[in-house]
């Protein structure tokens, strides 16, 4: 394996409801020479016939042990497929790939895929989740949101949303859909596949350090759609990391299934640089040190996308917990 390969291969999850244009987008992205060293796993047979890429097939088997332990929520065959790619790359049986794209089925919940990368003892030492790209159909997106909660979750969980079929959709309908997406997931950049020149490399890096798009106003809350709503918490003073950890773990243990997304940029006591944190349901990625603050605003900001939870309760709970360290020390 070449020395220039990254220590951790970034993995991008491409999701979106049935017929929303995932495969079309994938075909378009993979035509970009910048992605020539990208491996692809598709969990249903597709028509992407490209000779420099690997296409693996997965069935819809998911392993969920009755204990409910989150680290067991893995897709066994997905883990096997990625391990096999890794093994063949290590043994020089295939061209070294620098990134991996997983295209999920249209009805899939993205969480088990991300959980697999974190939970598998081999994969987590070689692969890292790089972000979730979700396609939303401009013609049928609003109807799908009404009828299929999976499509709402897929949009809510996205790092980047790619709006497809805007060239054949009515402008008014597209505008309503854009407004709805803005309410469900205000922190995700929205691209239009038909009009925007998509930078494949940048799109697949969407989960990197540049993913955080701050919501400026404190406790901004967007209108709920099917119980899914986004809101933010902004804190003026530096946070206590330990109290934050106790609070977030307790919150996710009880409500993780309904906390579709949490993203944050934190100013911690004693730390000059900001800390980025992001999680999907029960799964929280290792916190990372950002090289600098993205703007002059150095307040901690947390963005939540929740399903069926009152934002005021989370805000109140957070406010009490962040004072714990002060009262204990007093």
């Amino acid at each position: 394996m070449g020395e220039s390969l990254p220590a951790f291969t970034p993995v991008t999850l491409l999701t979106g409801f049935l017929g929303s244009g995932k495969t079309t987008l994938l075909r378009r992205l993979l035509a970009d020479p910048a992605l020539a060293d990208t491996a692809v796993i598709i969990n249903e047979f597709g028509e992407v016939g490209i000779d420099h890429l690997l296409v693996e097939r997965l069935d819809d088997q998911m392993v969920l042990l009755s204990s409910g332990c989150v680290c067991c929520t893995v897709r066994g065959e997905l883990a096997t497929a990625i391990r096999d790619l890794h093994s063949r790359r290590e043994r020089g049986l295939m061209p070294p790939f620098r990134r991996l794209v997983i295209e999920s089925t249209g009805l899939a919940d993205p969480f088990p895929v991300l959980s697999t990368l974190k939970a598998d003892p081999v994969l987590r030492h070689h692969f890292r989740a790089a972000g979730v790209v979700t396609t939303v159909d401009a013609v049928n997106g609003l109807i799908q949101f009404e009828r299929h909660i999976e499509s709402v979750r897929q949009a809510a969980i996205a790092d980047v949303i790619v709006l497809t079929k805007t060239d054949i959709a009515e402008e008014a309908a597209t505008a309503r859909l854009v407004a709805r997406l803005g309410a469900m997931n205000p922190s995700a950049p929205l691209l239009r596949a038909a009009e925007d020149p998509l930078d494949a490399d940048a799109l697949l890096k969407s989960g990197g350090s540049g993913w955080f798009k701050a919501i400026a106003e404190p406790h901004t809350e967007m209108a709920a759609h099917r119980g899914v709503r986004a809101f933010s918490i902004v804190v003026d003073e530096p946070l206590d990391w330990t109290a934050f950890g106790v609070w977030l773990t307790m919150l996710l243990n009880r409500h993780g299934a309904r906390i579709l997304r949490v993203k944050g940029i934190l100013a911690l006591e004693g730390e000059e640089r900001p800390i980025a944190i992001h999680g999907v349901q029960h799964l929280v990625h290792a916190p990372t040190h950002l090289s600098c603050w993205p703007s002059d605003d150095r307040r901690s900001r947390l963005v939540f996308i929740v399903e069926g939870i009152e934002p005021d309760l989370i805000q109140r709970s957070f406010s009490i917990f962040k004072r714990l360290n002060i009262s204990v020390a007093a």
Binding site: T242, M250, N253, R254, I320, R323
Partner: protein, 109 residues
């Protein structure tokens, strides 16, 4: 090993992330790690006492969660703490429960 399911290598909690380039962790040097563990015990106990439980350090590598009636269990990290706390106490440890918040606010407001 994940203490809940027994899967080897199943656990790597975000609050105890191994030191890697770019990763924020207090796990890297021994002094900071010990200080963080002590802080964690102090703050977790503010919450756990509502449920009649107490957390203590166990050999610097894990924690011991005990109830007032003497039941105890080793927990590895914060992710493991809350499921075990619910099991030992027989109660839901819900940080959004209104009565829990009222109690915590009165105690630490």
């Amino acid at each position: 090993m994940c203490s809940l399911c027994g899967v080897i290598g199943g656990n790597e909690h975000w609050a105890d992330a191994p030191a890697r380039e770019g990763v924020y962790t207090r796990n890297a040097d021994p002094v900071r790690r010990r200080r963080e563990r002590a802080e964690r015990v102090r703050i977790a106990n503010c919450v756990l006492k509502l449920y009649g439980m107490k957390l203590s350090d166990w050999q610097g590598v894990a924690f011991l969660l005990s109830t007032l009636t003497g039941k105890s269990e080793i927990v590895e990290d914060l992710g493991h703490l809350w499921p075990v706390a619910e099991k030992l106490s027989g109660r839901l440890c819900d940080p959004l429960a209104v009565d829990f918040l009222a109690w915590l606010e009165a105690d630490h407001g």
